[in-house]
């Protein structure tokens, strides 16, 4: 696939209470956004284990977005997003050392009413990933 026709695959882990509802709202409000995302609903962004993100990348995702509720007090489970934040901040460091560009991984806080933010974040991410190109599979050796 040439670089121009490249359509990035983005795996989104969206929390049930905020980000997933925002995606719903974007849908019912008939907002348009690129179809490159595969949304996985999780009950809380704190449920997103760094292993899931590593797995998504190794199975062909070009980008991963984790979206949860705004800190300090939006989380349905009080501090699930705090845990997500600490985990994913650390994961960012790991990904960078493994040669994965930091633009490929994003953590965003999107509340249930922020359909516009949802659309904006997805659009931005697709654009950035199109510039970056596909993530090479792990055993491919580049010249």
């Amino acid at each position: 696939m040439s670089q121009e026709n490249f359509e990035p695959k983005i795996v989104v882990f969206a929390c049930n209470w905020c980000a997933y509802s925002a995606a719903d709202l974007a849908g019912t409000s008939r907002m348009h956004y690129p179809p490159n995302v595969r949304i996985i609903r999780v009950m809380c962004s704190g449920r997103v284990d760094p292993q899931f993100v590593l797995d998504a990348f190794s199975q062909g995702a070009d980008g991963v977005l984790v979206a949860g509720c705004h800190p300090p007090a939006d989380c349905h489970y009080i501090d699930g997003n705090y845990k997500a934040f600490r985990r994913l901040m650390l994961l960012e460091r790991l990904l960078e050392s493994m040669g994965i560009e930091k633009e490929r991984f994003r953590l965003e806080w999107i509340s249930a009413s922020e359909a516009e933010k949802w659309v904006k974040v997805i659009k931005e991410m697709v654009e950035t990933l199109k510039k970056l190109g596909p993530l090479k599979p792990k055993l491919e050796v580049t010249k």
Partner: protein, 344 residues
């Protein structure tokens, strides 16, 4: 008399510590020699590849292989041993997941070779000679130059099970004599567990057998991380509670908490428990969960994370080649060292 089971013992990219652990069986070694015939063991006995090639397929009962697969030679030898053996066991951390030599997967092969042969402070190589597949050498008594052939190097180090089918794993860096002995008993008894099982070690995490487990608080929340050289830990309190990053909670037990008993945090050489997707990811997840910071304190959290200079080295010390990425992504083919072969 019934024929004794035949055992082959081979080393790939390993340091020799695994052989050492075999010798550490001490007087139990005599029982081992009573029970089995060792047919191949390059570290101690003079057998050649041809000797193995001459044996009928499947005639070796157990092949114990330690070390990761770094060279074409390793790949050939383990494929040969797989054909000749009924059971193949990955012995030790390197063979199971790549081990410490596997951390080289964070670099392109050119960087690895130049570091090893040109840059390390202990090397003296004024002519900047690099190893190559074919080298011509003039030997004084011979009329012509002779060609010396070295094996080729793979672009990445691979765990054994990425190259051949592996039946069982014995973990550890190196496996302790007890673990090896337990595994050996399981093999010799003939009552073997399902394929892919880890032999000789525990099914629970290290904390379960750690003598300091009683002092581990119900909930640990840390404001700071400490590295082993910064503090002298109290010997009677859980190391995690003292701020030292001990990987015990995510690591398989079976070693008897040797490091913790010597006041050193666990570095994870017994590898992951069953059903773990990626050891490093799991370790990260647990470390982040015990830090007591909120998203409003981002700067302070960054400072704490900055205290550990090499997170990959910490959480993937023994596991990088078996991890989801296997090392750095987009590694480059060698420019200088053309003999590098792509792994098929």
């Amino acid at each position: 008399m019934m024929e004794k089971p035949k055992v082959a013992w081979y080393w790939c990219a390993s340091c020799g510590g695994c052989e050492e652990s075999f010798v550490d069986l001490a007087e139990k070694l005599l029982d081992v020699f009573d029970a089995v015939d060792i047919v191949f063991c390059p570290v101690a006995m003079d057998f050649k590849k041809e000797d193995i090639e001459k044996m009928p397929d499947g005639s070796i009962t157990v092949a114990l292989i330690n070390g990761g697969i770094r060279l074409k030679e390793h790949e050939e030898m383990v494929k040969l041993l797989r054909r000749k053996s009924k059971i193949v066991i990955a012995y030790g951390a390197c063979s199971s997941w790549g081990g410490i030599p596997g951390l080289a997967n964070l670099y392109d092969i050119d960087e690895v070779i130049s570091r090893k042969y040109l840059e390390v402070p202990s090397i003296e190589n004024p002519n900047k000679t690099l190893p190559s597949h074919i080298t011509k050498v003039k030997i004084p008594d011979l009329p012509n130059e002779v060609e010396i052939e070295l094996t080729k190097v793979l672009p990445r180090l691979l765990p054994l099970d990425r190259v051949i089918e592996v039946d069982y794993y014995i973990p550890g860096c190196p496996p302790t004599p007890d673990v090896f002995w337990n595994a050996l008993q399981a093999i010799l008894s003939g009552k073997l567990p399902p394929k892919g099982t880890v032999l000789g070690a525990s099914q629970k995490s290290l904390c379960d057998e750690c003598p300091l487990n009683e002092t581990k608080p119900e909930k640990i929340l840390l404001k700071d991380l400490k590295r082993p050289h910064e503090v002298i830990p109290k010997p009677d309190e859980c190391l995690l509670a003292q701020g030292l990053l001990c990987l015990g909670p995510v690591t398989r037990g079976g070693c008897g908490a040797l490091c913790v008993k010597a006041n050193m945090p666990c570095t994870g050489c017994f590898g992951p428990l069953d059903n773990i997707i990626d050891y490093g990811g799991k370790a990260l997840s647990y470390i982040a969960s015990i830090l007591d910071y909120s998203p409003m304190e981002e700067d302070k959290l960054k400072e704490v994370y900055d205290k550990i200079p090499d997170w990959v080295g910490l959480v993937y010390k023994y596991y990088l080649p078996a991890s989801k990425f296997g090392g750095k992504v987009n590694i480059k083919k060698s420019k200088a060292f053309k003999e590098v072969v792509e792994y098929d």
